[in-house]
């Protein structure tokens, strides 16, 4: 349970409620009115990808499917569009997790980019195949921004696991 394999720090085990809380937070972030701005990332895809890489035994395709269904309804999209993309994202992230975690954070971000991009591209392909409107290029900037956010996201989402094992209120820092 280390941030990367080059780090010598051993992290605390993850709290299940924190995974749930972070995914719920990502859903709320997606619902914000900022979602229409170009380049705003798909927060759910980012957080889901993170947990699938970090904790692939806890967060898997079932979570991805349920979150996808939620996003489909919230977006007013065709049911199954987000489900398909998220399930595929969860599977690939879990499959690549042992490799991705080997790298330092910047290179991790580079490996995550194609996964997130594929999530958007699959959704676009599914909708365009059934005759939907072409989204602007802003739609494909989102994953790039999400990739840039990989390092801060890793820091924030691992924060609870950086707690010291023994909590001593009188301990000098």
């Amino acid at each position: 349970m280390q941030p990367t394999f080059s780090s010598s720090r051993i992290l605390q085990p993850v709290q299940p409620w924190f995974i749930f809380f972070s995914l719920a937070g990502a859903v709320v972030l997606n619902f914000l009115p900022t979602a229409h701005w170009p380049g705003v990332p798909d927060w759910v895809a980012l957080v889901l990808c993170f947990w699938c890489i970090r904790e692939f035994r806890r967060v898997g395709m079932g979570w991805a499917f349920v979150l996808g269904l939620l996003m489909d309804v919230a977006d007013g999209a065709v049911l199954g569009q987000h489900c398909f993309a998220y399930v595929l994202l969860a599977y690939t992230s879990a499959a690549l997790s042992r490799r991705i975690l080997w790298f330092p954070l910047v290179q991790q971000a580079l490996q995550v980019l194609p996964l997130l991009l594929a999530t958007q591209v699959f959704q676009a392909l599914m909708r365009l195949a059934v005759g939907a409107d072409v989204p602007g290029w802003g739609y494909f900037i989102g994953p790039v921004v999400a990739t840039l956010l990989w390092i801060p996201a890793t820091f924030i989402l691992l924060l609870p696991q950086y707690r010291p094992v023994e909590q001593d209120p009188n301990r000098p820092i």
Binding site: M1, P13, V14, V27, V28, N30, F31, L32, P33, A35, H36, R54, E55, R57, R58, G60, M61, G62, A64, F65, G68, L69, L70, V73, A74, D75, G76, A77, V78, L79, G80, Q81, C83, F84, V87, L88, Y91, A94, A95, S97, R98, L101, A124, M126, R127, L128, V130, G131, A132, D133, V134, P135, G136, Y139
Partner: protein, 312 residues
């Protein structure tokens, strides 16, 4: 990655293989994608999920609406006075028509009775507030704050103070989704005011509309206004829909490409009126074979059916 917690990973109890799970979930996703798109039979599932998602979404929209509220609150006296003057002016200019409207309607009704023509349907409806634009980047839809509880059903048209905005396509318990007329392939049957010619206008998805299947030599000019023709059983006749802005006549094609812009503020508004559904049309007479002009009638009927199917 040492696994979960500090315990060893489960060697013997691992559940189904990831590839099997993936196949299962992908199959389910694709199945509901097709079913939702083609058969529209998953509305109950969508409504029940929306019941959970909708309150969260409304709460998430509050920061934006608070900013809007603050901006309009701080808009200043001058702006409001200006707007007030303009509104008074507009009211005065429309006053002569409005004042005689009641009398005209009564007269029209009487004349129609004399001619024993079916009475004009009255346009009633309910005003709804727009909550937010749907997040889906592939379509143009808005969500309004009245739904099944207010008696709204799919297929009802929505207008604003200048013209047609769109059509209700999905209804949730406390909200409804309106597809704008500029959405790709959203269809409105229209009539050109100047020439009386009937046609069908399609949304293009880029904020414009296109009048398709008009012959290259059709009597159409830039600036012509299109109003709903009322042939579809959904839109009442006479509501302004679009104004023609560009006509491309290319002899290589048999049809002219005619582009229009919507008259209503389709992409920017605060409130829309959802009109009550029209009374059902009388059943169509049985088709008689061999009558002249009967070849193009089924085509029109097909288009009508398509619009109605879109509404449902």
């Amino acid at each position: 990655m040492a696994g979960i917690d500090h315990a060893p990973p489960p060697f013997f109890k691992q559940g189904p293989a990831p590839l099997a799970l993936l196949t299962f979930y992908i199959a389910v996703s694709l199945a509901i994608f097709v079913v939702d798109l083609r058969f529209k039979s998953l509305d109950l599932l969508r409504q029940s999920i929306a019941l959970v998602v909708d309150p969260v979404q409304r709460v998430a929209q509050t920061p934006g609406s608070l900013v809007d509220y603050a901006a309009s609150y701080l808009q200043g006296m001058r702006g409001l006075q200006h707007e007030n003057n303009e509104l008074k002016h507009a009211q005065l200019t429309t006053a002569p028509n409005l004042q005689r409207l009641a009398q005209l309607e009564a007269e029209n009704e009487r004349l129609r009775k004399l001619l024993s023509v079916k009475e004009r349907e009255k346009a009633n409806g309910q005003v709804t507030q727009i909550l937010y634009t749907a997040r889906d980047p592939f379509s143009r839809k808005i969500i309004v704050d009245k739904g099944q509880q207010a008696g709204i059903v799919a297929g009802q048209p929505a207008i604003d103070e200048t013209g047609v905005v769109g059509q209700v396509t999905r209804v949730f318990p406390f909200s409804a989704e309106i597809t704008l007329i500029t959405d790709k392939d959203q269809v409105v049957p229209v009539q050109i005011v100047r020439s009386g010619q009937r046609s069908v206008v399609f949304g293009l998805g880029n904020g414009q509309l296109e009048l398709r299947y008009m012959p290259a030599n059709a009597d159409i000019q830039i600036g012509d206004v299109l109003v709903t023709s009322g042939l579809d059983g959904i839109y009442l006749p006479g509501f302004p829909v679009a104004r023609i802005v560009n006509i491309e006549r290319d002899s290589a094609y048999s049809f002219a490409r005619i582009f229009c812009v919507p008259i209503a503020g389709v992409e920017n508004f605060g409130e829309v009126m959802v009109l009550d559904p029209r009374q059902p049309l009388p059943p169509a007479p049985p088709e008689s074979a061999g009558r002249p002009g009967s070849s193009d009638k089924p085509g029109l009927g097909g288009k009508k059916k398509k619009t109605m199917a879109k509404g449902n």
